[in-house]
Every structure is written in C-alpha cells, then in structure tokens.
Amino acid sequence: MAADDKFSERESQDKELLRQLEIQTLEKTIQDTPLEEREKYKLIVGNRSFTLEQILAEAKEGTEYGDMFLKMQSRSRMERMRRK
C-alpha cells in the first residue's frame, strides 16, 4: 500500500477512534446526569433544540450538530487540562 494510502487510512481510523471515545464519554456523562436535569435543560443552536439524549443520537449518527457537540466536549476537555 502506498505511503499516502497508509497515512490516510490511519488518519481516518484515528479520527473515528477519537469520535467513539467522545461518544462513550458523552454516554457516561448522560448516565451520570439526573433525569430531571436531562429533561430540563436543552441546547439551543440555530433553529434547533436538543436534549442530551438527542445530542447523543446526533453524535452517533454523525450529523453536523452531533459532530459539533463532540468537538465542543473534546475542546473543553483539552482546555481543562491546559488550565490545570
């Protein structure tokens, strides 16, 4: 396999790996969040609103909003590490 192909394939795998890790993180935090809070608070973005469960569904589906939320979560994790 050409070097470029190896690189691209590995890059895709790594990205998907990170995405799955972020989805697992999101699933766990949702599990740890009381139901009343999960139902009470919604993310408003554009002309859409999302509960946590809906965000998780979007993330698993790989939609634009789902990817956006995973990215938010990932960046916040990095930022918290940076501030420690």
């Binding site: 935090t29 009470k40 993310l43 408003i44 002309n47 938010m72 960046r75």
Partner: protein
Amino acid sequence: MVTKRVSKATSVVSVSIQDRLAVLEKIWHWHVTRPGKLLLIRPRIPGDGYTEIGSNNWAADVKQKAIDEGWTVIDLNANNATRENIEASITDDRPDLIIHYDHGSTFTMWGQESNALEAGLDELNIGLATGRIVSTVSCYTAAGLGPAAIGDGVVAYLGYTEPHAFWTGFENDFGPAANAANYALLECKTVQESFDIGWAAYDALYVDLLGRGGFAATHVAPTALHDRDCFAMLGSSTAVACPRSLTVHCYAIPDNVVPCRYGIPRMTVCKGLPIFRCNAGLPDSVISICAAMPDLNMCAAGPPLRIREIIEDYPRDLMLVDIDKIPQDMRKAFTQMMERMGSEK
C-alpha cells in the same frame, strides 16, 4: 476648583489662531467621541427557542444600555425587522452602529417578516453599511458575510464563524457574555477593546460554569468555550462606533451637547466665568471646550460666542489650566502648546 499650575505667561498675548489650530489639529485624535445612533435588529420568531428564549431578550438589554449611554436607538424588533425596514433605516436614519441579534447563515443576517425569517442583510445589501461598524450575535456570518462586508467598506465586523449556541436554564448567563462586546462598543471603546471584552466575558463564563460542577460543568461549559472560540473580529481594530463630532463636555455629568465644529482634547477653561454652562445648569463646573472651533451653537449666558473671541479675549483664562485634569497622553502636547502661546508676542 483650585488651579494647580499656571503657565509661564500671565499677560495677554497675541498668538496666531492658525498656529494654535495647527498644534491642536495634531492632537485632534484624542478628542472624545460621543454616543450616536444605533440600529438594533432583533427578530423574535414565535416558537423559535433561539430568539424567544435568548437573543431578542439579550438585545433588549443592549437597547437599554444604549439608551443609558445616551444613544439614539432605532429598534427593529420582531416583525419590524424586515429587509425593507433594515435597508430604509440604514439609508434614511444613517446609524453609526448596527447591532443584530438573530439567526445567521454564512452570508445572511436574518430578519423577520410576518413571523417568519427573511434575509435582512446579506452579500447583496451589506454595502449599505459602508463606513460603519456591524456587530452580530448569530451563527456563521463572520465566516462569509463578515469578510464580504469589510470588502464592501464596512469598517469593522464582530460576529461568529460557527453556530452560536446556549443552553436553556442558562440564558441569563450566556446573555451578558454575548452582550459584553456590544456594551463596550456603546461605551465608545475601540473594536479591539470590545472584542477583547467579549472574549473575556465568554472565558469568564466558561470558568464560572466549570466551577459550578455538575451539569453546568460537564455539558454547558463546553458551549461557552465554543462561543468564545468562534467569536471573531474583522476589519479595523482601532475603529470606534461613537461618532467623532464635537461637543463641550461637562466633567461631572454625561455629555450635554453644546456642539462645536471641531474637536480638541479637553481643556479646563472659563472656570467660574458665566460664558459657558452645561445644559444641566451646573454653575462653576469645570467645562471642557473645543477650543479650535470658530463657533459654538449655544451659550448659557447669551448669544453664541466665537471661539476665536474667547481665545483672543480670554487668553489668561486659557492659561489657568489644571494640568492634572488633562489626560496623560495629551499632557505633553498641551503643555508644549501653552508654552508656545506664552512665548509668542
């Protein structure tokens, strides 16, 4: 007030007005600006969470801030935010600052007509805002419309390159962060200062949400960080939304406009003399004056006095300057001017 320092010459001197103007014009850029006219575009679409829970209410706070700061506000609220009204307001009312709160797309700031979204400002009409600062709390526009606006002559643009988001139950936290930059613009801060204040407000919100723990820290804080990071500034960083037309300022109170045609740094003049008086009727106020101006439109004690007459007839009073009252960055230039005035015959 006690005058702390008196310049060298205390006798009447004859100084070329042109020479004085030349010196004053060099330090003109320190002239303090005054509030102007704000066009506020804030749709409110029934059933739409972003405008009903968030943006329209945040914009209402901006409107109040503008009024408190002395701005004239053209408020295109809800169904008044039609494309036609937006264009007419910019053309006919000639606002100094345009602030928009609503949905955005890459090349569109959305307005509203008959309870539905309508393109308000886009690449076809953003050129109407030439020469002004535009600030929007909306999704995406800084990625597309913003650069187009700058290319079309908009002086500076504040907006977001990605979707702007918030959480219900936390709209009263996100609102002040979203408003911070616009408040700074209304306070006549530069675009850079306003952007920095806005960025810092989001950053502080992020830290605050982390500190609350629980849902706020885990799920809401990332959104604040996201909003911070997609907040963008384009165009001139030194531009100021407040127009530079020229006023006599009363130190102790907000501006009462005694319009002058030119502007210069503030000087303490005519203390105790019944020549100028603030509109609020404060006697013996330390009144700053636009000394390079031929005419004043209004004096408290009678017909307008020409600045030239004041300079020529009351040079002793111009000498009685409280140097400590002059802003630090103007002091040297002012002192040089006064020394020059004192040395000429």
